[in-house]
Symmetry: C2
């Protein structure tokens, strides 16, 4: 096992920014893109942190991601906008959306911003955190490649579209919640297949529609949504809010980021932002949130050593520790980051 180290945040940030700039990403967009990586690593969501740099760069190198997109923000009414991503980094397109949406929500009390012609945007959590730091409640989501069949159907029609909720708290870190709508994930299935291990019952059905715990058959079949038709419908709702409402792509119009790495993914995202000032005022909202979090935490823990936490508190504890001690990675990952930054290494495209 490679040696585990801690890389200072500013060093990791500088390496990632250099790697992006070297591939033609404008300096200001490199800052935006790396902000999302760093936040995810600080939260401990390493699957969406700096570890993903090589993949995004691999897609820039083969032409799938536009490093210097002409991003246009089109607004027909003050409280709404659509960000046309021009095939840019999803983390840049979404960052532009959240910057724009925060201003619109502050001015109007509420705002919707959709993003189209984008690519993988990382995790809802980083955008939700940013909105909550600005005092706003944020509901967000993204669509993706179809992986889930409709109720009663035998082909994938909708992605396991992630949903995020974020809300500011006065006496604690933001409420932060971010999940995909499938029971399991293709990433975990790939790891199980590599290790020759089965996957849990209830994660997937095979290509013929039968339940399977064989990771290989599951990868050739379909993901199951949480709660069956319930998760399926939530995934459709998320796609309507992200792609349909902003004129973006869905289903067969989306290119698979791993199977078609040299094509723009054309995924869509959305952010719904609400300022408590528009409803009951910030102070009153903070009072309610304080009482609510106390209520949640008053639940007796199943394991006395692990008191119940409010969603986001785990990420925030990681944030404090990783900010102070540096981002955890192993030496091979650190070497890879340096190689991507100085141009001696190329990006990669992982197996689909």
């Amino acid at each position: 096992m490679p040696k585990q180290i801690r890389v200072p945040v500013e060093e990791a940030r500088a390496l990632c920014e250099e790697a992006y700039r070297r591939r033609g990403v404008p300096a200001v967009d490199a800052v935006r893109a790396v902000d999302q990586f760093i936040l995810c690593d600080l939260f401990g969501i390493h699957t969406h942190g700096t570890r993903r740099l090589g993949n995004y760069i691999g897609r820039i190198e083969c032409g799938g991601i536009n490093p210097a997109p002409d991003i246009r923000i089109v607004s027909r009414m003050p409280a709404a906008a659509v960000v046309h991503g021009d095939g840019g980094l999803g983390t840049v397109v979404a960052a532009r959306a959240i910057e724009d949406g925060i201003v619109r929500a502050k001015a109007n009390g509420i705002a919707y911003v959709g993003c189209i012609d984008s690519n993988h945007f990382g995790a809802n959590a980083s955008y939700g955190w940013t909105a909550a730091q600005a005092g706003l409640i944020c509901l967000s989501g993204s669509n993706g490649t179809p992986t889930i069949p409709p109720t009663g159907g035998k082909s994938s029609v909708v992605g396991n579209n992630p949903i995020g909720y974020a809300a500011p708290r006065a006496d604690g870190p933001p409420f932060l919640f971010d999940v995909a709508l499938s029971v399991g994930s293709r990433g975990k299935m790939r790891r199980a297949k590599d290790l020759g291990e089965p996957i849990p019952d209830g994660w997937a059905i095979d290509a013929d529609g039968f339940p399977t715990t064989d990771a290989g058959k599951a990868l050739d079949g379909f993901l199951l949504a949480i709660g069956g038709h319930k998760g399926y419908g939530l995934a459709l709702g998320t796609e309507i809010l992200s792609a349909l409402l902003s004129g973006g792509a869905f289903g067969p119009e989306i290119n698979h980021q791993f199977k078609q790495p040299d094509q723009p993914s054309r995924v869509s995202h959305y952010f719904l932002l609400i300022d408590p000032e528009a409803t009951i005022g910030r102070a009153a909202f903070e009072d309610r949130m304080r009482a609510y979090c106390d209520w949640i935490k008053s639940s007796p823990p199943a394991d006395p050593a692990h008191p119940v936490r409010v969603p986001g508190e785990g990420s925030a504890a990681n944030h404090v520790r990783n900010s102070a001690e540096g981002l955890p990675m192993d030496e091979a990952e650190y070497a890879r980051l340096r190689g991507l930054a100085d141009g001696t290494l190329k990006g990669e495209v992982p197996e689909a």
Copy 2:
């Protein structure tokens, strides 16, 4: 088994309105409240239709629901409002909210309306349908009595809060989706207990936190959320948008509609309404929805006799049939409706 009959919609409507007016509900609010019943019955959601009249009236008779509330709509910014329900019928409070929200969304492109101090509001579907008929996308939800424990906790902290999505379609009935965030429901558990039948695995844990298929033990224990921590977090997010953001009650502040029928439930609801005119224009949105629905319906059906449908199409087919043929009920239900209308019968409060 009692004889099944069809009651003309206008007759059912008149009987329900008379029953409400007889208990002091103003005529205009009786129309609002009955609109929701009738829509649910037309959709085939009979658990939330006229069959519920006796329960709502039982709660008016024992003082739990205020028949003539002083409903106030408080707005600090044009695109948002909070409806103070004064303990009125949830169907009246929510109807006021959707009426108000539609106007705000038309004017601003987007609107949030929260409702507090309300009671059981029926189903998201009826409000979503109303919004979609007005050309708006609607995301809605409600909180309720805690039934779901937090991740790692041993007491209920949050309800199996229902979430609804609705969207207009030019060539078909509205996209309509409405689910509670638990795998099963307490209503189905009560029926299983009455029949001496087990409940499916994965629906509930007993009071000690162990999985159970015993309906009685499940009723004394906790509902499980869809996807475990995923459904739990979605329930919290729904409660933040409904209760916290509008200054409403949660958890221990909510009175159980069946266990404390003579107390106001104090539940909260929310409606987020978006006009596609604010993003890409109605015509462009309708084109996208048309292509999306065609895509969903192109999925090969598992059973060739049952082609895949878009959520809402089943309800809409019921709506057409029930509008023409009358609302299906049995003779005992019809007699009960007439008795509630002419005052010879009192309302009831079902078992918790």
